[in-house]
């Protein structure tokens, strides 16, 4: 529903996703982000006269995997067309993109909005090549290191394989649009087809937004919005656009069919070009490439290779590991963490402890030390060892945290660290009892309070014993002995590990 009750909005999305191939779509140049400008180029991706494209099989595989993950029908034949337009970062003067006959069509994605499931249909998934990158104005001057009117071109990205995913215009609100994108990102990541790193531009999105009177069955005039660099911007731009169009309609003014761009600074949109200035791309089938024919046996094998998708993984985590919903969501949202967690479980760790320690302690360490989740330095074997020490009571929680960090940084095994520093948990009853007696003697007041029925005084005494033991004493043991010494023989055994 729109921001104003009288109007209904429909949002459609076009999402461009870079496929994580080793090489570009039509040449052997590396497909890699972050290289110095114009290093990952060759005569083919620079479009030098006489060069020809040769289709990258892996890109077709990844594109097809994405289509399968989204439940699309993969076309037995698809065709690359030339989309003709002039721009300096488009070296051939045309982009190779599938047009009339895309790789796959149909499909849908089910996601959850505010806890309720929602399914949106997809129109198509097709393959195309990325263009180069242009830098203008201040960006260019900064990059060139000299002031002045430069435009700079970087062709490293030129020819990188993309899939374009087009939804039906049936997302009803900015929140739905955002939830859809989050879910789509997860599917693509889990299917293993893309890094889906928004900050590196490996997932980009355009939106078209239309608004119509709520009681009207006719769809409104769609307005296309570009320059949406994050899911938040998609959400904000759609919200602003719905407001803008609703206001126009409410005032009896028509909505113009046009392309607008989102302005990050104001959270609003402005006209980029009106439809009468629209380009005629003069699409026609590219004569340099053959029709792309999909062998049914190959498609079958590919379907078999399709990794577990988020929905199935969620279900399995609940069923097999009995994880809490919150942990399930967090693990599924961060695939590298989920994979790490599963390796730990496979090595024998208790799933619930492993999930908790992955999502809390490991994530804290990754953040603190600026490491990406797909490069956890700690071998899962060490992680499992730590959990075992924790469960056996050899390490208390605070000790385990310290050992984990040491192991994370040094690479030594938790057992080695614990043994070398003597920080294993104190579970010797006589030693703990001696400390308890010292603490009771040193703090007669709280001891008396406890005996008088002030339960909270016990916490203070436990804390004192822990301090005296430099955190090594087993808290459960301390608790039990304290209660015994203070005459509370009915107290249950502590469960804290």
């Amino acid at each position: 529903m729109s921001g104003r009750g009288r109007f209904a909005a429909a949002i459609g999305l076009e999402i461009h996703v870079e496929l994580k191939t080793c090489t570009k779509l039509f040449c052997g140049c590396p497909n890699r982000f972050g290289a110095p400008p114009n290093r990952l180029v060759c005569p083919v991706c620079l479009g030098l006269p006489g060069t020809l494209p040769v289709l990258n099989r892996r890109a077709v595989e990844l594109g097809t995997l994405a289509a399968l993950a989204l439940g699309c029908q993969v076309a037995p034949e698809s065709v690359f067309a030339r989309k003709n337009y002039f721009y300096p970062d488009l070296p051939k003067g045309y982009q190779l993109s599938q047009y009339e006959q895309p790789l796959a069509s149909g499909g849908q994605l089910t996601f959850s909005v505010g806890g309720a499931p929602r399914t949106v249909r997809l129109r198509r998934v097709h393959l195309e090549e990325d263009a180069g990158k242009s830098l203008h104005g201040d960006d260019a001057a900064r990059a060139a290191g000299t002031p002045g009117h430069h435009s700079l071109l970087d062709f490293n990205r030129c020819g990188v394989p993309l899939i374009e995913i087009v939804t039906e215009p049936e997302l009803n609100s900015p929140d739905e649009a955002r939830a859809f994108l989050e879910a789509l990102k997860q599917v693509l990541e889990h299917a293993g087809v893309s890094d889906v790193k928004l900050q590196e531009g490996s997932l980009r999105c355009d939106a078209n937004v239309s608004v119509r009177p709520a009681e009207c069955g006719q769809p409104g005039i769609p307005v296309e919005i570009k320059n949406l660099n994050s899911f938040r911007f998609v959400q904000r731009a759609a919200a602003h656009e719905i407001e803008r169009q609703s206001a126009l309609l409410a005032a009896g003014k028509p909505v113009e069919r046009e392309t607008r761009q989102y302005l990050e600074s104001t959270g609003t949109t402005e006209t980029l070009r009106r439809k009468e200035q629209a380009d005629d791309y003069r699409y026609f089938p590219d004569p340099d490439l053959l029709r792309l024919r999909v062998d049914p046996a190959w498609l079958y094998r590919l379907r078999e290779q399709l990794p577990e998708l988020p929905a199935a993984r969620r279900e399995r985590y609940r069923r097999e590991f009995r994880l809490a919903d919150e942990d399930v969501e967090q693990l599924v949202a961060g695939l590298p963490l989920a994979c790490y967690f599963e390796r730990a479980v496979a090595l024998g760790a208790d799933p619930r402890i492993a999930a908790n320690w992955t999502l809390v302690e490991l994530v804290r360490l990754l953040n603190a030390h600026g490491r990406p989740a797909d490069a956890i330095p700690l071998p899962p074997e060490h992680f499992v060892e730590l959990i075992a020490l924790l469960q056996a009571g050899t390490l208390s929680r605070p000790l385990a945290r310290a050992v984990l960090e040491d192991s994370f940084l040094s690479g030594r095994s938790p057992r080695t660290i614990a043994a070398a520093s003597g920080v294993t948990q104190l579970t010797d009853e006589a030693q703990v009892a001696a400390m308890v007696d010292q603490v009771i003697a040193a703090h007669p007041g709280p001891a008396a309070d406890y005996r008088a029925g002030k339960g909270r005084a016990l916490d203070f005494l436990v804390g004192q014993v822990m301090r005296q033991s430099q955190g090594r004493a087993n808290p459960a043991l301390v608790n039990r002995i304290l209660r015994e010494r203070l005459g509370d023989l009915t107290a249950p055994a502590g469960t804290d590990t």
Partner: protein, 491 residues
């Protein structure tokens, strides 16, 4: 021995030790020096590298290494085939100063067998034309009559071979650009099956029609050259994986029992009487050698030309979009707005015929016109192909004139592009159908050479070469050098 004797005979002489590759290269350079200021076959002469390449061949031979037949034979490349380190202009101002960083596959393969490159030959700008008058630099003269055109667009390659400035050359054939100039200059020109020779490094005109082919003095030479350049190339997705047979092994097999169809549509009123007569005489020669010659019909022939002049410009309009002055080639300076830069660069860089075709093609692909023009032309193309398919059920080869007329005078067709487009009417159908075709000299009309065109089944260049060779062996008029050739490059 003369350069005009062709690659095979020159190779035999070199094997007998009559001369070295260095001497051959120097002979070719002398011939170029003597004739080319008048003929204008070359855009770039690569004398120094030619001598280096020739000497490398001589040294290898001196070491006793077995050498391929083409090793040390002087040759030329049409200036739309990319040569690493050597300017490649497509006879266009817009590519002035452009030096490719890589070699076309056809040239890579010839270099691998020791070919000696004399230089890059003149052509109609971006291969658009049938007279080599559309070169941005200068027209090429026909060695048979300096006032006449050598045909085109591979006119420089054909004239260079006809005049003995190179033993053979490569051209490109999109609608007849190898066969028609070969016919008009009295040499042999072969357009292989689409996909037989890699297009990698051939600057594209119309990608679905372009094909690299040899121009040489003899059919036997063409067999040798095709052998070297044919075959699948991983850099060209449209190059065919089909096996390349041993063409020389079947060259002498003769034409006895071959069924040759003669499509009546290729002998219509547009064909000059002298041309039709020579072609019929040639067919009589083939019949005398044992071929069964019979009239047939390719009913959609007349629509081929119209379809071609939609499809080829459509593809060209897209292929030529990359010449925008941004990354290489010519840029018109002093323009700050992008649109101005494009307009000035392309406005000054392209010649009138190229602009005409870009506009034709842009129009044919435009929204609202695509179905009526581009798609309809594709359907015509299918019909033309079906005609050939049906004919090849009954025949092994089809025979026709290559060009409706002999070489015309320079300027004769200027200002009348339609008349010039007619020059391709008989060669275009083979491009539309992707079939191999060869033009073999078959005598003279009004003192100017006439070409016999043979068209074969897809990937059956062997039969074309076999028939063309049989015809050349049975005739001798084609050996006559053109007046401009002088000694014909005697060594």
């Amino acid at each position: 021995m003369r350069l005009l004797d062709g690659a095979v005979r020159l190779a035999e002489g070199m094997a007998r030790g009559e001369y070295s590759a260095g001497e051959l290269a120097r002979t070719a350079l002398e011939q170029i020096a003597r004739l080319d200021s008048g003929l204008g076959c070359f855009i770039t002469v690569t004398g120094e590298t030619a001598l280096e390449q020739a000497e490398a061949v001589d040294r290898a031979r001196a070491r006793g290494e077995g050498m391929p037949l083409l090793a040390g034979i002087p040759m030329a490349l049409k200036d739309n085939l990319c040569t690493r380190g050597i300017a490649t202009t497509c006879a266009s101002r817009i590519l002035e100063g452009y030096v490719p960083p890589y070699d076309a596959t056809a040239w890579t393969r010839l270099r691998a067998v020791g070919a000696v490159l004399m230089g890059k030959t003149n052509m109609d700008e971006f291969a658009m034309g049938s007279s080599t008058e559309n070169s941005a630099f200068r027209p090429t003269a026909n060695p048979w009559d300096g006032d006449r055109v050598p045909g085109g667009s591979s006119g420089g390659s054909a004239a260079a071979v006809a005049a003995g400035e190179a033993a053979y050359a490569l051209g490109s054939d999109t609608g007849g650009s190898v066969r028609q100039p070969a016919a008009l200059t009295g040499v042999v020109g072969l357009k292989p099956t689409y996909g037989r020779v890699s297009r990698y490094g051939l600057v594209a005109f119309a990608s679905s029609l372009d094909q690299v082919g040899p121009i040489a003095r003899t059919v036997a030479d063409c067999a040798l050259i095709l052998q070297a350049i044919a075959g699948r190339d991983p850099l060209d997705a449209t190059s065919a994986p089909a096996d390349v047979p041993d063409y020389r092994a079947t060259l002498e097999a003769g034409v006895r029992g071959l069924r040759i169809g003669v499509p009546r549509e290729y002998f219509g009123p547009g064909v000059a009487p002298g041309v039709g007569d020579r072609v019929r005489e040639a067919l009589a020669v083939l019949a005398g050698l044992g071929a069964a010659v019979e009239e047939c019909s390719l009913p959609h022939t007349e629509y081929g030309l119209a379809a071609y002049y939609l499809l080829a410009p459509a593809e060209a309009s897209s292929n030529l979009a990359r010449y925008d002055g941004i990354r290489y080639g010519r840029r018109t300076g002093g323009r700050h707005a992008l649109r101005d830069l494009y307009c000035a660069t392309r406005g000054e860089g392209f010649g009138p015929e190229v602009k005409r075709r870009i506009m034709l093609g842009t129009y044919a692909l435009s929204s609202g016109y695509y179905d009526a023009y581009y798609l309809k032309a594709q359907r015509v193309r299918t019909l033309v192909s079906r005609d050939f398919h049906a004919a090849f059920e009954r025949f092994d080869l089809l025979a026709a004139p290559t060009s409706p007329d002999v070489a015309f005078r320079r300027g004769e067709c200027a200002g009348d592009p339609l008349k010039l487009y007619m020059a391709d009417a008989l060669t275009i159908p083979a491009n539309l159908a992707g079939l191999p075709a060869i033009s073999v000299p078959c005598g003279f009309s009004r003192g100017l050479p006439v070409g016999l065109q043979l068209i074969g089944r897809a990937f059956d260049e062997g039969t074309l070469l076999r028939a063309g060779h049989a015809y050349q062996e049975a005739t001798s008029e084609w050996r006559r050098p053109p007046p401009a050739a002088g000694e014909g490059g005697a060594v």
